[in-house]
Subunit: 194 residues, 4 copies
DNA sequence: AATGAATGAGCCTTCATTCAT
DNA sequence: GATGAATGAAGGCTCATTCAT
C-alpha cells in the first residue's frame, strides 16, 4: 500500500491532529488543516462533514485504541496486583508509544467532541467503565483490595499516571516512561492493596 | 483605584466566569459578557485589555488563591503524613468550596491563557513547585517517605484527587467530597509511606 | 436633516434596493451592498440581522406605502365606477411615481421574503384583501357590478395594470402611464359594470 | 441522439423542475438534482453545460409549448370575440393542465435565464408578440374591438388570467379553472368589445 | 469614564464545475 | 459515456476591537 493510497481522509486526520496539538481545537482553522494536509477546502468537506467530525473521528479512534489495548492488557491478569499494575503500566506505555494521541486526548474539549462523535462512542466509553469495574470488584469483595467506593478505584490507579503524563508530554518532567511505569505501579499497588 | 472601579471589574470577571463555564473560553463572546455583566462593550475594554486579559486574570486569581491556601494549609504540618494528607485534603476541599473556579481551571485553555497572563504567573507556578518539593524532600531523605523521584511526588499525591474532581465536577461521580477526601488521603499516604 | 443624518440604515436600504433591482435578490451579495452603500460588512450586520432582513424591510415598507395610498385613494369613492377606476389609476400612478419600488415588488421572491418579514406583514396583507372586498361587495350585491366571485375581482381590476407595468418597467412598452391609466381604467370598468 | 440519451436528459429535466419548484432556482443545487434524478454529477454535466442550461431548457420548452398551443388555439378563430375568449381560455387551460410548468414560469428568474437560453428564445418571444398583434389588429381596424394601443391588448386579455393563476397556483384562490375561464373570458370580451 | 456604532479580517461552509479513472 | 472525488472561489456571517461622541 503506497503512501498515495493512504487516502485523503488519513492525510487530513494526520494534519488536523498536528494542528490541534499545536494550537488547540478551537484555535485551529479549516485553513490550517488545508495547508498542512495539502487537500483543498472542498476535499476536506468531501471527506468530513466539518471540523467537529474530524476531531470526533480522531477522538473516537484514539479512545478506541486505548480501550482495546487496555482490555487486552488486563485480560491476562488474574490477581488484584496484576490488574492494578497492568492498568498503570498500560497507561504509561500507551502514552509513551503514542504521545501525540495522548496529548490530543488530554487537551481536546472532550465533552463537546463526544456529542459530535458517532453515537457508539459514548456508549463504548460507559461500557469500558463497566467492564473495568467488573474486573476489579471481585478482588474488592475478596478483600485483596482495600475497601473503597469503586468510583475512586480508577482515579487512584490512573490519576498519578495521568498527572505524570501531562507534565512529561509538556516536556516538564525529568522522569521518563521506564522509571515512571515502575514507580507509579508500585505506588498504585501500595495505595490499593488491603 | 476607586471601589466603583473594583466593582465594575468584578462584575465583569464574574459574568465572564459564568460564560466561560457554560460555553467554553473560545465560544464565549465579548457580547455574551456584556449582556451578562450589564457593562457596555466600551466599559469592558476600559477595564481590561481584551478577552484574553479577562480570562488570564481569572486564571491568575484562581491559581493564586489555590497556591496561597495550599501553602497556608501545609505550613502547619511537620510530619510526612501530615503533608501528604494535607495536600490531598486541601485539594478536595478547595474543589468543593469553589467548584466554578475549579471547573474553569480544568477546562480553560491554560497554555494559551498563561502566555497572556501577567509575567509573574508562570514564575509563581514554578516557585510553588520548588516550595513544595522543599517541604517534602527532607522526609524523603529521612526515609519517612518512599524513595522516588520528586517529580513523581505530586502526581501521586494530587493525581487521584484531580481525577476524582474531574468526574465529580462533571456530575458523574457518586462519591462526594467528604468521602473522597478521606479515602484519597488514605490512599495517598499508603502509596507514599516508606 | 442633513444627508449625514439620514442614517446608516437608510443608506443600506437604498443601496440594497438598487442591487436587488440590478441582479435580483439571490444574486446580490452582502459585498455588493457593502460596496454600494459605503458601509462596512459589520455595519450592515449591526443594522440588520442579515440579507433577508434588508429585503424584508424593503418589502414591508413598499407594501405598506402601496396599501396606505391605495386605501386613501379609494376612501373617497362611493360609486362602483369610482372604486374600479380609482384602483386602476392608483396602481398606474404608484408604479409611475416609484418605479424602483414597483420593480422590486414584482421581481422579489415575495413568498420567501414574507416569511422573513415582521409578523405584521402577512397579517396586514390579508387585512387589505378583506378591506378591499368589503368595499366592493356592496356594489356587487347592488348589481352595480357584474356578479362574479370576489376572488376574481382584483385580478380583473389590477391584472391588466400589472401586466402593463411589467412591460413598461422593463422598458418594452410604448404606452406611458398617462395613456395606460385612462385606457386601463376604461377597460376595467367595461369588464365589470353590470 | 439515442433514446437512452433522451431518457437521461428528460430524467434530469424532470428532477430539476421539481427541485426548482420546491426550493427556487438559486437555492437548488446540482446535488439536489443529482439525488432526485439518480444521475451522477458527471452525467448531468455530460448532458447539460451547467445549471443555467438546465433551467434555460426547461424555460424554453415551457415557453415553446405555450406559444405553439396558443397559436394553434387561435388559428381557428376568425372573430374578435373568438380571439379574445380563445386567448383567455387557452391561458387558463394551459395553467390547469401543466401547473408545475406554470409555476416555474412565474417564479424562475426569467431575466437571468433568458440570457442563458439559446439565442432563439428571445427572438421567438418577440415573434409571438408580432404574430398576436397581427391577428388582432384587423379587428381593431374593423372597429370590432375598442380602439386602444396594441401594446395594451395583451395586458387586458391575459393580465387577469395571470393574476388568477398566481393566486390559484399558490393555493390561495377559491375559484378553480372551470369557473375562472368562463368569468375571465366574459370579462376580457366585455373590456375589449367596441 | 462610559457608550455603542462602526470596523474589517477572518471563519466555516457551500457549490458549480472539472477531470482522472 | 459514466462516475464521483477533488477543486477553490465566493458567500453569509461573527466578533474582537476601536473610536467618535
Amino acid at each position: 500500500m503506497s503512501s498515495d493510497e493512504r487516502g485523503r481522509r488519513d492525510e487530513i486526520l494526520e494534519a488536523a491532529l498536528k494542528c490541534f496539538l499545536e494550537k488547540g481545537y478551537d484555535a485551529t482553522t479549516i485553513n490550517d488543516i488545508r495547508e498542512r494536509s495539502g487537500a483543498s477546502t472542498g476535499s476536506i468537506y468531501h471527506a468530513f462533514s466539518g471540523k467537529d467530525a474530524i476531531a470526533a473521528e480522531l477522538l473516537a479512534g484514539t479512545l478506541d485504541h486505548w480501550q482495546r489495548t487496555l482490555l487486552a492488557r488486563l485480560e491476562r491478569e488474574t490477581t488484584a496486583e496484576g490488574l492494578v499494575r497492568g492498568a498503570v503500566e498500560h497507561f504509561v506505555d500507551w502514552v509513551a508509544q503514542a504521545p501525540d494521541r495522548a496529548r490530543f486526548l488530554f487537551h481536546s474539549p472532550r465533552a463537546r467532541l463526544e456529542s459530535a462523535a458517532q453515537e457508539g462512542l459514548q456508549a463504548r466509553n460507559a461500557e469500558l467503565l463497566v467492564a473495568l469495574k467488573a474486573m476489579f470488584r471481585p478482588h474488592v469483595k475478596a478483600r485483596a483490595l482495600r475497601a473503597l467506593p469503586t468510583s475512586l478505584l480508577l482515579p487512584i490507579i490512573v490519576g498519578p499516571a495521568m498527572e505524570w503524563a501531562r507534565t512529561w508530554l509538556a516536556g516538564r518532567s525529568p522522569t521518563g516512561p521506564a522509571e515512571a511505569r515502575r514507580v507509579l505501579a508500585d505506588a498504585a499497588w501500595a495505595a490499593l492493596r488491603a
